[in-house]
Symmetry: C2
Subunit: 449 residues, 2 copies
């Protein structure tokens, strides 16, 4: 049979059980996978217009980053090593000068960083999301986009209304050959009124849109929600009917036994951002505890303003080691479990489990090739361990989304990378200047006199 693309001689991890094809192949026709199996079988059956010989490299589903703020790549390094309120003050002060153009270049930079480090699908939550949609369209990545909705705080004149978020979602859903999915994006439990959150739930049901929001991230949030509503964040969300299988709650650090039961019972999806929450000292989400209860926990990098990268391979390592220390048990969170969080669980988190998250016939061809002929990836065996504990984003060699090769042997094919790096740097410099901050090589930006 005919296919557009055949990838052969890879160590293929389809993420179906713990099966691995040592010399595996994948046939792709159009945007879909049409065969997965041993190279001897698949290559026999399919004649392809293009053949990629993986030469022993690892082939796995593209990674799914389920919580980020893409344009915040422009905030990398502007606010490190600071208490959370000082961090926020800096970010808000600069964000108030943000333009749609800044968001475009920040999102383009973020898309490049994600593609280069093996992410093929991401869930984003920010302002001026039409610019992020543009970046998704142009770079060829897959995006699940939600425009931030606030009503108790908002960055200056930027539109953060429910109506704005809904209009964005209606306009862009299922665009870019269906690579763009849209969600509603209430910011969080204390930055939206209970009335707004109820309207979000109603709108989500009516419009069949999923919801992406921050949930139980910090002690400060817990205190504020208790003050406003007399209960903790997850209980508050349960009471107003926001929990549900279509809700993606990011962070979920402050959740007790009872709240885990609520999340489980409602099939609410949970996203984990260990690097940001470790660096920011906000706490650690009880991930192994939630996975044990069969709550769907996926993985995200959060924004580069707090992480400071969007590297999901690095995030997998931090996840795998952090919980071992917290629970004083090195056997919790195996490499396989963490790989599942970054692929299958990510797909479920954004409602795309029928389309992505594993390499199976009929699914979209979203996959990555990781080269292993490098000192830090030898000896070659126990591939889940190599990926989680030894590889990093720079080891990703080739990236395919929707059947299209968007990075080929580390070369980005869809956009002009050099121009984006230059424009993103200019956008950063312009933004800092407009908002009154002076930057330098040796330290964080300082207030201009």
């Amino acid at each position: 049979m005919d296919a557009d693309l055949l990838i052969k001689n890879g160590v293929v991890i389809p993420m179906v059980g713990q099966k691995i094809f040592n010399r595996g192949a994948i046939a792709i026709d159009g945007d879909k996978i049409v065969a997965v199996g041993p190279t001897t079988e698949v290559a026999d059956e399919y004649g392809a217009r293009r053949v990629i010989d993986a030469g022993g490299a690892i082939v796995l589903p593209g990674l799914i980053n389920t919580h980020t703020h893409l344009a915040m790549t422009l905030f990398r390094g502007v606010s490190d090593d600071l208490p959370v309120m000082k961090w926020l003050e800096r970010i808000w002060s600069i964000e108030s000068s943000l333009t749609p153009q800044d968001v475009y270049w920040g999102a383009m930079l973020g898309c490049l960083e994600m593609i280069r480090s093996g992410t093929t699908c991401f869930a984003d939550h920010y302002f001026f999301m039409n610019q992020v949609a543009r970046a998704v369209e142009e770079t060829g990545i897959r995006g699940v986009l939600a425009q931030a909705i606030f009503d108790k705080w908002g960055p200056g004149d930027i539109d953060t209304s429910l109506e704005g978020g809904l209009n964005f979602a209606k306009k862009f859903r299922d665009t870019a050959n269906n690579r763009i999915t849209c969600m509603l994006g209430p910011h969080g439990t204390f930055t939206c009124s209970s009335d707004t959150l109820k309207r979000v739930r109603q709108t989500a049901n009516e419009e069949k849109l999923r919801i992406h929001m921050h949930m139980a991230e910090s002690k400060e949030e817990v205190d504020e929600v208790k003050k406003q509503h007399g209960k903790t964040p997850v209980r508050f969300l349960a009471d107003i009917g926001l929990l549900g299988p279509d809700l993606l709650g990011a962070h979920a650090i402050y959740v007790d036994e009872k709240e885990m039961s609520l999340l489980k019972r409602t099939d609410t999806k949970v996203n984990h951002n260990p690097t940001t929450n470790t660096k920011g000292a906000t706490g650690t989400s009880p991930v192994p505890e939630m996975l044990k209860r069969k709550i769907n926990v996926s993985l995200g990098t959060d924004g580069a303003g707090s992480n400071n990268t969007l590297d999901m391979l690095e995030e997998m390592k931090v996840t795998a080691i952090l919980h071992k220390l917290r629970l004083r048990d090195p056997s919790v969170l195996s490499a396989w479990q963490v790989l599942e969080m970054a692929t299958l669980n990510g797909a479920k988190a954004v409602g795309l489990e029928e389309k992505i998250g594993s390499l199976e016939v009929g699914k979209k061809a979203d996959l990555i090739i990781v080269k292993t002929d490098k000192p830090h990836l030898i000896p070659m065996h126990n591939v889940p361990s190599l990926l989680v504990y030894s590889a990093n984003g720079n080891d990703v060699d080739t990236v395919i989304v929707d059947g299209r090769v968007i990075m080929d042997h580390r070369k980005i094919l869809t956009v002009d990378e050099e121009e984006i790096l230059r424009k993103a740097q200019e956008a950063f410099e312009g933004l800092l200047g407009r908002s009154g901050w002076k930057f330098s090589a040796s330290k964080m930006p300082e207030r201009q006199l």
Copy 2:
């Protein structure tokens, strides 16, 4: 004046205070730095046989990894996600079949991994150290080598006597154009008798050799030392006179206030290995607390059998974020402090602070160039943050040790990398086979039937 090598137009971080030259240059003659400053001045003064235009890349002292077991690269992925005793059982079972040849290929693989990720000097502690010395000699890296001394446990027929360790040190000290320094390597507080440790101290004093050992790493060690000697590890070492400015104690997790005072008073050097101790769930060393007391704390990756990489840039990020969470204070351990741990403090830890650890006139030319024209390293500003929070080992472009370029734009110049990768894989496969373990792509090695 004449020089052999001029590096110009770099963002140069000499690690002298917090100075950065935005368009800096370094002149190197023979194995030494002869000038550091703005490109305009240095390039005017020095005519060099070779010029490297860094083109805006970051130039900094080579990173110093002060605790590893280099040949354990062959153990990468053989023992993950297991309780410490099961981890040890596996490692020991395989180690008992280790040959000098295995150590050679493991050390060559480890040298490559370190060079590629920006380490120019490492402190190693293992068996068959003449093989590691050979790897240092051939690859061009700098090594501080100690042969493991045990008397309460030892891997089969391998020589782990004090005499063996001393003979190794005498034979190899100051070889390889002084790139090899030797230390004495008693394994630890519970694997050496108090008599042996006293003899180590006496020998160290007589022979002017420094000492490198494991110290206060695990609860199990504390319990065992208490049982054997009626006191905790650091108190025990203090009482038998082992503490001192020439002792490098690795891990130092179980140290209380009183023990920190002992370490400070004796100027004992402490090495921190956060990834291994997080993944292994042994605990976290009170690093900010020790730095506050002006104890010299340096950074190490430990072996790839536990980490599972030798990437000091990654280790810096784990260090910087981990303590913020532990102390619930995002302002502890700034990027600058962590950079110091990985450079200056590392040099002091191994007694080479007169020669390496910073870019200063008269010091050895051990330095690295990190390219930043990549999405995850844009925007370019706040360079310490970029290095600690965003870069990883794969971003290192060029490595110079002793004035010699050993990696040039990611190409290793000193040895045949392809052959080493192949031989290391073969050594791993042979070792596993001899020791009765079957390996596969999908999981950790299993006992052969």
